[in-house]
């Protein structure tokens, strides 16, 4: 037992050391997988955050647009007559009749203007209302059409 070859002992120690080295590599790979998993989760969170930012930006733009529409004092609307659209600048204090007259002149002149009215969302607009009172907003499309269409022998 006393005559143990130091080389043999050393070899044994190296072999043990080699085993320990293998176990350490396994842990490292495991850590690597965990790190990859964490990275994927982080990237996913980043993507979600980017989507939320984009959504928030759209909502902000929409809110700004609505705010501008709400408080715009002068803006453009379109009037549609016989399949043709024309743009008109209006001020909120103008009357519907003023816009109606401008539209009739632009599309014509159209004879018998008293038979024509402006319509918004299917409703005839009162001539005496202001643009604001009539609820006309920027970019609205208003219909210029006769109030009544009928015939009879």
């Amino acid at each position: 037992m006393d005559n143990v070859n130091p080389n043999e002992k050393s070899q044994g120690a190296d072999a043990k050391s080699g085993e320990t080295g293998c176990e350490g590599g396994g842990h490292a790979i495991e850590h690597l997988h965990e790190a990859e998993h964490d990275l994927e989760k982080a990237l996913e969170k980043q993507r979600d955050a980017a989507q939320e930012i984009a959504k928030a930006e759209v909502e902000i733009k929409e809110a700004i647009r609505e705010e501008e529409q709400e408080h715009a004092r002068q803006f453009a609307v379109e009037v549609l007559y016989d399949g043709v659209k024309k743009k008109f600048e209006v001020r909120i204090e103008e009357t519907v009749k003023q816009l109606l007259d401008k539209a009739i002149a632009a599309f014509g002149p159209l004879p018998n203007p008293h038979t024509l009215s402006l319509y918004k969302d299917g409703k005839e607009l009162a001539d005496t209302s202001t643009i604001k009172q009539a609820g006309i907003k920027p970019h609205d499309v208003l219909l210029l059409r006769p109030s009544t269409v009928k015939g009879g022998a």
């Binding site: 549609l80 016989d82 399949g83 043709v84 659209k85 599309f107 014509g108 159209l110 004879p111 018998n112 038979t115 024509l116 319509y119 299917g122 499309v141 219909l143 059409r145 006769p146 009544t148 269409v149 009928k150 015939g151 009879g152 022998a153």
Partner: protein
């Protein structure tokens, strides 16, 4: 100013079919002839408006008219003729003069006699056109319309 419109024979047949089926020899009925703003002289669509009718007249439905007005804009089409029937003789009544679908110079209104129950064609039909002063003036059918 005046335009000579082209109408396919099949569209005239379609028009008479609507006038007869809807009017059924009892009520007046109206049809509209449309064409594209890109090629106004070629009638390309026959429209049968939603309306209430009786022996001596008709009234277009208001909601239908709103939707139709938007559709004209969306499809780039314009109304060139209104066509309607009378129980007997074809002419333009005071109501016809005052309440057309369009009131602009050059717009045409064709009246078909006897609820459209006669032969398909323009026999005894009456065509009138809005003038620049807003009044209506009878015009020969062949001066404004050619069948193809």
């Amino acid at each position: 100013m005046s335009v000579l419109y082209r109408l396919e024979w099949g569209m005239l047949e379609e028009t008479f079919k609507h006038l007869r089926q809807c009017g059924d020899g009892r009520d007046e009925c109206q049809i509209l002839w449309l064409s594209s703003w890109d090629m106004p002289e070629v009638i390309s669509k026959v429209v049968h408006p939603k309306h209430a009718a009786h022996f001596g007249g008709f009234v277009l439905d208001d909601d239908w008219l709103n939707k139709f007005w938007m559709e004209l804009g969306d499809t780039n089409m314009g109304i060139r003729f209104q066509v309607h029937t009378h129980p007997g003789e074809a002419f333009h009544s005071k109501t016809d003069d005052e309440f057309p679908i369009l009131h602009k110079p050059g717009f045409l209104s064709l009246v078909i006699p006897n609820f459209g129950l006669g032969a398909v064609g323009f026999k005894d039909a009456y065509l009138t056109e809005i003038q620049t002063n807003g009044g209506w003036q009878e015009v020969p059918i062949e001066s404004r319309l050619v069948l193809t």
